[in-house]
C-alpha cells in the first residue's frame, strides 16, 4: 500500500516563548491522498499559512507527526528536505514568487538548477527548455514573455509563470497560498481554472489557501481552520 501523500497527527506549531507564546496550530490530524484537491479556509490569523509552510517542508519547528510521501520531516536533513521541496512539492505564493533580477525563462528554469542528480526533466537542457515553453503556452502565455522581466508583467501573468514553474518538475503536491488574493475577479477565475486543470493533468494534489467563497465552492474537500484548530473537514461532491 502506498503511503498517504500527507499524513499528520496531533500536528502543532507554536511561536515565541513565555507570555508572548502564540499557538498558531493545535493538534491537527490530516490525511491527503495523491491527486486530491482541498481548499483551506478560515479567518485571518487562523494558522492557514502556518499549516501550508509545514506541509511544504519550509518550517521544521512542528510538534507531533508530519509525513510527506511517507517520510517524517523531522528525520530529514537539509539536503533531503531541499530535495523534497524541489521534487515533490510545488509552491505558489500570494505575491513575490519570481526573482526580479532574472527573466521569465530563467525563473522558470530555477527548480531544475537545484535538482540533484539531474535524472529529472532538468537533465537535458533542451528537453528542459521544451518543457518550460510548453508550460508557458499551457498557462496561456506567449513565448515572447520568456525574455521579459517579472516587473514588466501583470499580476495575473506573474501568477501564471509561478504556476508553470511550480509544475516544472511534476510535483505530487501543489501548495498555493492565496494565489488569487492580489488579482481581480475575472483574472482570479481564469487563473484558478488553470490551477485546477493543470493539477489534474499532472496528477498533483492541490491545496489552496483562500478566503474566496467561489474558490471554496469548487473544491471537493474544504478544511476550516479557526484559532489554530481544524474545525471542519468537509467532503462533498462538487
Amino acid at each position: 500500500m502506498t503511503p498517504a501523500l500527507i499524513h499528520a497527527r496531533r500536528l502543532g506549531r507554536a511561536f515565541g516563548e513565555g507570555p508572548s507564546r502564540v499557538q498558531a496550530l493545535v493538534d491537527l490530524d490530516l490525511d491527503v491522498e495523491a491527486g486530491e484537491r482541498l481548499a483551506i479556509t478560515g479567518p485571518s490569523g487562523a494558522g492557514k499559512s502556518t499549516l501550508l509552510n509545514l506541509l511544504g517542508a519550509l518550517d521544521g519547528g512542528y510538534l507531533g507527526t508530519l509525513q510527506i510521501a511517507g517520510a517524517e520531516l523531522h528525520a530529514l536533513g537539509d539536503r533531503q528536505l531541499s530535495a523534497l521541496r524541489n521534487r515533490t512539492i510545488g509552491f505558489v505564493f500570494q505575491s513575490f514568487n519570481l526573482l526580479p533580477s532574472l527573466d521569465v525563462a530563467a525563473n522558470l528554469a530555477l527548480p531544475a538548477a537545484f535538482a540533484e542528480g539531474g535524472a529529472a526533466a532538468g537533465a537535458d537542457p533542451s528537453a528542459l527548455r521544451a518543457r518550460a515553453l510548453e508550460l508557458l503556452a499551457r498557462v496561456g502565455l506567449d513565448a515572447s514573455v520568456a525574455a521579459r522581466r517579472p516587473l514588466e508583467l501583470s499580476g495575473g501573468q506573474r501568477q501564471r509563470v509561478a504556476l508553470a514553474r511550480a509544475l516544472l518538475l511534476k510535483p505530487a503536491l501543489l501548495l498555493c497560498d492565496e494565489p488569487t488574493g492580489s488579482l481581480d475577479r475575472a483574472h482570479a477565475d481564469a487563473v484558478l481554472d488553470l490551477f485546477e486543470e493543470l493539477a489534474r493533468e499532472n496528477g498533483s494534489a492541490l491545496l489552496i489557501v483562500t478566503h474566496d467563497p467561489l474558490v471554496i465552492e469548487r473544491q471537493p474537500r474544504v478544511l476550516h481552520l479557526e484559532a489554530g484548530r481544524l474545525m471542519r473537514d468537509e467532503r462533498r461532491q462538487p
Binding site: 509552510n53 518550517d59 537539509d78 531541499s82 513575490f96 519570481l98 533580477s101 528554469a109 530555477l110 535538482a115
Partner: protein, 620 residues
C-alpha cells in the same frame, strides 16, 4: 546545483546591484595593489641590491684581528689556512667554503689611454676570489647588457663594433666575458719551487700542483690532467721517467689538441708514452724592451720563437702570439717571453661611478659612458713594483697585462679582483710559499638561509668573525626585511579593512535579497547552495578587484621605474630596476582579492543560510 545556473544567477545579482559592488571592489583593489606593489618592490630590492652584495645564504668570515686605533693588528684567532677552510667546509649546513686572498706584495697598474686619452697610474691592490663564486653574477650582468643585440653589424676591426663585443669574421659578435674569469687560464711562472705556493712544484717554468702523495682519492689534479713526475712533465721523452724516481709528481695538462690546453698554451707535437701529449707554453720574442709596456697590437704580440744558438738561446720564427694572448716578458727588460692571456679582472661598479662623478670632473677628462665600455679594456700590471714602498727584487718583478671582464658588487670597491689562483700564486712568489696558502677570508655558502646563524656561531668559535662587508649586508638585509614586512602588513591591514567593507556590503545585500533567498529555498536550494551563491558572488567581485589591483600595482611600478630612470639616472649604485615581477605576482593580487572577499562574505553568507524561509515569505 548546476554551475551554469549558479553562475548566471550570480552574474545577474552582480548586475542588479552595481553601486555596492563597485565600492566593495575598490577597497579590495586598493589592498591587492598595495600588496603586489610592496612585494614587487621588496623582492626587487632583496634580489637586485642585497643579493648582489651578499646573497642571504652567504657570509664572509675573516680571522679575528685586534684593532688598535683603527689599525688592524695581527689575528688573534690564528690563520685561515687550508686545514681550517676544510673545517668550515665540513660544518653542518655548509654547502661550500671558499677562501679569499688579498695581495701581500706591492704592485702598480697603469692604463686607460684608449679610453680617456692618457694613462692613469695607480698603486694596485688585488683581491683573489674563486671564479666559481663570481661567475654566475658576471653572467647575469652580461645577459643584462645584451651584447649580442647588434650582432649583425658588419665590421673590419673590433673598434667598429659596440662596446663589449668584437669583430668576428666581418660581423660583430658578443663576447662571453664572464667565461674568461677562469683560474685555469692563469699561468704562474717560476724559476724554482720557492716561487710557488706551498703544495706546488716548479716544472718547466710554471707552478703546478704536486700530486701522488698520500691519498690517491684526494688528487689535486683536475679533469684532463695527469699526475706525472715533474721532470717527465717537462722532459722531452717518457724514457727518462725511471731515472728521475726522486722528483715530485705534478698535475700536468695532457691534451690531444690545442683546445685541451688552458691559457695560451698549445698541445706539444710529441706524444708521450700514453699517446697523449702535453700542453706547452709558446715561446716568443719582443722586438724592443719597451714593447712589454705597450698595448699596441703588433708590438705586444711579439714574434714566435724557437731555441737556437743565438745569444739568449732564442730565434724568431715568424708569426705572433695568437688570439687574445700577448708576449709576456720573462723578466723586466728581457726580450724573451712566453705567450700568455691577460689576467681577467673584475671591478666594483662603484669604481666606475667614482671615476665618472668625481675624477672625470676634477681631472677634466671624458666620462666613461657605460660599464660595457670597459669590458675588454686592457691595462698593465707591474707586480712587485711600487710607487711607495720597497720594491721586490728586480729579477722577480713581472709586467703583465690584465683585461676587464666584468663588474660585481662582490668585488671590493677599491682594488682589482682577480681569480684566486692568480693572487695566491703572486703572493707565494713575492711573499713566500706560506703566503700563498693563507686566506684573508672565506665566503661560506649555506644550504639554506636558516643555517646561517648557526654557521656564524661555529665560525666565531673557531676564532673567525664576520667581515665588515658581511656585517653591513646582514644589517641592511634585516632593515630592508623589516620595512618590507611592515609594508606588507600595512597592505594586509588595508585588505582586512576592505574585507570588513565586503562583510557590510554583503550583509546589506543578503538582507535586501532575503525574499529571493527564501523563494530559492522553497524551490529546493540547499543551505550549501545559498552559501555558495553568496560566496561565489563575493569571490567574483574579489577576482575583479584583484585584477584591478594588479593593473594598478603594475602601473604604479612602471611609473616609479620611469621616474627613477629619469630623475635618478646619475645616482651611483642604484640598480637598473627596483621591481621584481615573478610569475606569481600576476596571480597573487587576484588570489588575495578572492580570499579577502570570501573572508568578508563568509559571515553574511552564513546568515543567508540561517534565514527562515517560512518567516520571510509570511512577511507582507
Amino acid at each position: 546545483m548546476r554551475a551554469r545556473s549558479l553562475g548566471s544567477l550570480v552574474a545577474t545579482n552582480l548586475r542588479s546591484s552595481p553601486g555596492s559592488a563597485a565600492s566593495a571592489v575598490l577597497g579590495v583593489a586598493l589592498g591587492a595593489a598595495f600588496l603586489t606593489f610592496f612585494i614587487g618592490l621588496g623582492e626587487g630590492l632583496r634580489s637586485r641590491v642585497l643579493n648582489r652584495i651578499l646573497p642571504a645564504n652567504q657570509i664572509e668570515v675573516e680571522p679575528r684581528s685586534v684593532r688598535v686605533f683603527g689599525v688592524a693588528g695581527s689575528p688573534t684567532g690564528g690563520d685561515l689556512d687550508p686545514a681550517r677552510l676544510r673545517r668550515l667546509q665540513g660544518l653542518p649546513g655548509v654547502e661550500r667554503a671558499l677562501g679569499k686572498q688579498r695581495s701581500a706584495f706591492p704592485a702598480r697598474l697603469w692604463g686607460g689611454r684608449h679610453l680617456i686619452g692618457y694613462d692613469l697610474h695607480t698603486e694596485a691592490f688585488f683581491d683573489g676570489i674563486p671564479d666559481a663564486l663570481l661567475r654566475p653574477e658576471l653572467e647575469a650582468f652580461e645577459r643584462g647588457l645584451d651584447l649580442g643585440r647588434r650582432r649583425r653589424e658588419r665590421c673590419d676591426v673590433d673598434d667598429d663594433c659596440p662596446a663589449g663585443s668584437r669583430c668576428d669574421e666581418g660581423v660583430c659578435a658578443a663576447v662571453r666575458w664572464a667565461m674568461r674569469f677562469d683560474s685555469r687560464d692563469v699561468v704562474l711562472r717560476c724559476a724554482s719551487d720557492a716561487d710557488c705556493q706551498r703544495g706546488d712544484a716548479c716544472a718547466e717554468g710554471r707552478c703546478l700542483p704536486r700530486c701522488g702523495e698520500g691519498d690517491p682519492e684526494a688528487s689535486p689534479c683536475g679533469a684532463g690532467q695527469r699526475c706525472l713526475p715533474a721532470t717527465l712533465a717537462s722532459a722531452d721523452s717518457a724514457g727518462d721517467a725511471d731515472r728521475q724516481g726522486g722528483a715530485p709528481a705534478v698535475c700536468s695538462d695532457r691534451c690531444r689538441s690545442d683546445s685541451d690546453c688552458h691559457g695560451a698554451e698549445v698541445c706539444d707535437a710529441k706524444a708521450g708514452g700514453d699517446g697523449l701529449r702535453q700542453c706547452q707554453a709558446v715561446r716568443c720574442l719582443l722586438q724592443r724592451a719597451e714593447d712589454a709596456r705597450s698595448l699596441e697590437r703588433t708590438a705586444m704580440r711579439g714574434q714566435l720563437a724557437e731555441a737556437c744558438d743565438a745569444p739568449g738561446g732564442l730565434c724568431g720564427r715568424g708569426g705572433a702570439c695568437a688570439g687574445h694572448s700577448y708576449c709576456a716578458a720573462d723578466a723586466p727588460g728581457a726580450l724573451s717571453g712566453r705567450c700568455e692571456l691577460p689576467v681577467p679582472v673584475v671591478l666594483n661598479p662603484l669604481l666606475l661611478e667614482v671615476f665618472n662623478t668625481d675624477m672625470a670632473a676634477s681631472l677634466g677628462i671624458a666620462r666613461v659612458a657605460a660599464p660595457e665600455a670597459l669590458l675588454g679594456v686592457r691595462f698593465h700590471l707591474a707586480l712587485g713594483d711600487s710607487h711607495f714602498t720597497t720594491d721586490a727584487a728586480r729579477e722577480r718583478q713581472m709586467v703583465r697585462q690584465a683585461v676587464v671582464v666584468g663588474f660585481s658588487s662582490k668585488a671590493p670597491e677599491l682594488g682589482v679582483t682577480a681569480p684566486l689562483a692568480a693572487v695566491a700564486g703572486w703572493n707565494a712568489r713575492f711573499s713566500g710559499s706560506a703566503a700563498g696558502s693563507r686566506y684573508d677570508g672565506a665566503i661560506i655558502e649555506t644550504a639554506s638561509n636558516e643555517a646561517v646563524s648557526a654557521t656564524i656561531a661555529e665560525a666565531e668559535a673557531m676564532g673567525l668573525e664576520l667581515s665588515r662587508r658581511s656585517r653591513t649586508a646582514r644589517t641592511f638585509g634585516t632593515v630592508v626585511l623589516l620595512i618590507y614586512l611592515a609594508l606588507v602588513l600595512l597592505a594586509l591591514v588595508v585588505l582586512a579593512v576592505s574585507a570588513l567593507g565586503i562583510a557590510h556590503t554583503f550583509a546589506i545585500l543578503v538582507h535586501e535579497r532575503r525574499r529571493e533567498i527564501a523563494v530559492l529555498r522553497a524551490l529546493g536550494a540547499t543551505t550549501r547552495a545559498i552559501f555558495g551563491l553568496v560566496l561565489v558572488e563575493a569571490m567574483l567581485l574579489g577576482a575583479a578587484g584583484g585584477s584591478l589591483g594588479l593593473c594598478l600595482a603594475h602601473l604604479a611600478a612602471m611609473a616609479v621605474e620611469a621616474a627613477a630612470s629619469r630623475w635618478l639616472a646619475d645616482v651611483p649604485l642604484l640598480p637598473d630596476a627596483f621591481f621584481e615581477v615573478p610569475a606569481w605576482s600576476y596571480v597573487l593580487p587576484i588570489a588575495v582579492g578572492v580570499f579577502f572577499c570570501a573572508l568578508g562574505a563568509a559571515w553574511p553568507a552564513r546568515r543567508a543560510t540561517r534565514l527562515d524561509p517560512a518567516t520571510v515569505l509570511s512577511q507582507p
